[in-house]
């Protein structure tokens, strides 16, 4: 080994004192031979105070820390170095430092002990180098604390997440239940509404019927009754036998008249009271033929012509008696109110209108002033022409038979030109 010629001579004492690392040079019996200023500062000692003192006197274990094992571990490491003459790195070690006021401060160190061998290859000194890792350990502890906290938090978050998912599932379930309930309620409400609507329209119909009936009693039943009572009084008051005879005949007529009106009313009431009358599939042609045959006398007399177009709706689902009566009354009216200057021409048509069938009976007769009479057209005992056979019953009973089956009847007419009666049969 050759001595290296040094151009820049170094003061090794100053160098050691000022080393940036933390160093202690120990004798074989652990007396502090020297200490770097940075370690003295770090260990809150003074270099000149501790050089020459035993390491373990200067740096004793923290008596307040029952678990303190810094001294024993360091002794073992140093003994290992002495024995084996090789360096020994110690694991990070807590070794508390006594402050000037006597209190101990928690410190963590990462020490390395390395032998300095003499020419005889014997351990002359031990170089003890440490790094103050207190901040790091603290940080790590904080970190692990944080980590712990984090993991706690995480598990809490996870728990919360699970909880939230669970809750949201519950809410979802509840939502579905609610939705079903709402739907059910809505259905109930809709049903109730439909029932109310149905009852309302039924009530409206019944109210109308009641009004009509009150009207009938007021006008049609009361009038012949008044006549009868007047006649009876006159009969009792007269002493003239001939007049008495005459009045008695009138009384018979009045009673017959009352009876007839009464029978008509009974018939109409039976119609409105029998909404479940059975329907059958009926051919229009057959029923038109029957009606025409029944009126053959009138037809021959007036030389009436017919045009029938029922190809669009040749058949209908209806009570046979009603269809018979409706067709008879409408055709009979067309014949009855024929124009004196021309033969009746009667056009019978059926048409589809959605789920309904519309029957029309069009004539070229007298016509009706609907502006004046539309309110009374289908009322009992309402007549619009000076005709001997006008009784005001045909259209009244026809309307009853149409309305009883939820149908509709109306008319269009021009006076002197003719009338068209329409019947809409529903639910076909």
């Amino acid at each position: 080994m050759k001595d290296i010629k040094n151009t820049y001579p170094i003061n090794y004492i100053d160098l050691f004192k000022n080393l940036p690392g933390l160093y202690i040079i120990l004798s074989r019996d652990f007396v502090i031979a020297d200490i770097s200023e940075s370690l003295a500062e770090s260990s809150m000692t003074r270099r000149e105070d501790i050089i020459g003192k035993n390491l373990f006197v200067v740096f004793p274990d923290n008596p307040n820390n029952k678990k303190a094992d810094g001294e024993i571990n360091l002794r073992q490491s140093l003994a290992f170095v002495l024995q084996n003459k090789i360096a020994h790195s110690m694991p990070v070690q807590r070794y508390d430092i006594q402050k000037p006021d006597g209190e101990f401060e928690i410190r963590y160190w990462s020490p390395v002990n390395k032998p300095l061998l003499d020419s005889k290859n014997e351990v002359a000194f031990i170089i003890h180098r440490v790094e103050d890792v207190t901040d790091y350990v603290r940080l790590k502890k904080e970190n692990s604390k944080n980590e712990l906290f984090s993991s706690e938090l995480e598990s809490k978050v996870k728990k919360m997440e699970i909880e939230i998912i669970k809750r949201s599932k519950e809410i979802q379930h509840m939502n579905i239940l609610l939705e079903e309930k709402v739907k059910e309620r809505t259905r109930h409400l809709e049903d109730a509404n439909a029932t109310i609507q149905k009852n309302f329209s039924l009530l409206s119909v019944q109210k109308k019927q009641l009004e009509d009936f009150s009207n009938i009693i007021s006008h049609n039943l009361r009038a012949p009754l008044v006549n009868i009572s007047m006649l009876t009084e006159m009969i009792t008051q007269t002493s003239n036998e001939e007049e008495k005879q005459f009045l008695t005949t009138k009384l018979h007529t009045a009673a017959d008249n009352l009876n007839q009106i009464f029978e008509e009313l009974v018939e109409s009431i039976q119609i409105s009271e029998d909404p479940d009358i059975p329907c059958e599939r009926l051919s229009f042609q057959n029923y038109i033929d029957t009606a025409i045959n029944g009126l053959q006398g009138e037809i021959n007399k007036s030389n009436a012509q017919f045009e029938i177009n029922i190809t669009e709706s040749p058949s209908i689902n209806y009570p046979p008696i009603y269809l018979n009566s409706i067709l008879h009354n409408l055709i009979s009216n067309s014949l009855k109110y024929q124009h004196p200057k021309r033969s009746p021409f009667i056009k019978i048509t059926t048409q589809k209108k959605g789920k309904s069938i519309v029957l029309s009976v069009k004539d070229n007769g007298l016509g009706i002033d609907l502006e004046k009479h539309k309110d009374n057209l289908f009322k009992i005992r309402k007549v619009f022409h000076n005709h001997v056979n006008a009784k005001g019953f045909g259209l009244f009973i026809t309307k009853s038979q149409v309305v009883a089956m939820q149908g509709r009847i109306w008319a269009e007419s021009i006076p002197e030109e003719g009338s068209t009666f329409f019947v809409e049969f529903n639910n076909q």
């Binding site: 009038a223 008044v226 006159m234 007549v383 022409h385």
Partner: protein, 134 residues
């Protein structure tokens, strides 16, 4: 009580007009009674005699339920005709109707003096003539 000269009875019920005519005749309070079986015929008569004071009635007894032109229809045409009439006419409804609807409706016409519910009795008719506006 002074009898009236002319009276119109507008009603399609022949039995009723027959009896009412008899009752009125017995009172000797109407010199002439004309009967029309619907509103149209009555209006036609008034239209034709509108300027003939001696033929126009002092009183009209009007039924409501009639063919061709009923009592309500008569009233509408009567209102139009009235300004041309040479005589003041007093108009009564004589109907078998006990329906409040008809009575309410009649109240809307200032031309209707009263609503008489059938039958027409001697007493009613005497009262009617007694209360005629002078």
């Amino acid at each position: 009580m002074t009898p009236i000269n002319n009276l119109l009875l507008v009603d399609d019920d022949e039995l009723f007009t027959f009896m009412t005519k008899k009752i009125i005749e017995k009172t000797n309070l109407a010199n002439q009674i004309r009967i029309f079986e619907n509103g149209k015929l009555a209006i036609d008569f008034l239209d034709a005699t509108s300027e003939k004071k001696e033929l126009l009635p002092e009183v009209i007894l009007l039924d409501l339920s009639m063919p061709v032109l009923d009592g309500w229809g008569f009233l509408e045409e009567y209102i139009l005709l009235k300004p041309r009439l040479a005589k003041k006419i007093t108009l009564y409804i004589v109907s078998s109707s006990v329906s409040p609807k008809d009575h309410q409706r009649a109240k809307q016409y200032s031309d209707i003096s009263d609503f008489i519910i059938k039958p027409m009795t001697t007493e009613t008719f005497i009262d009617l003539i007694k209360n005629l506006p002078v």
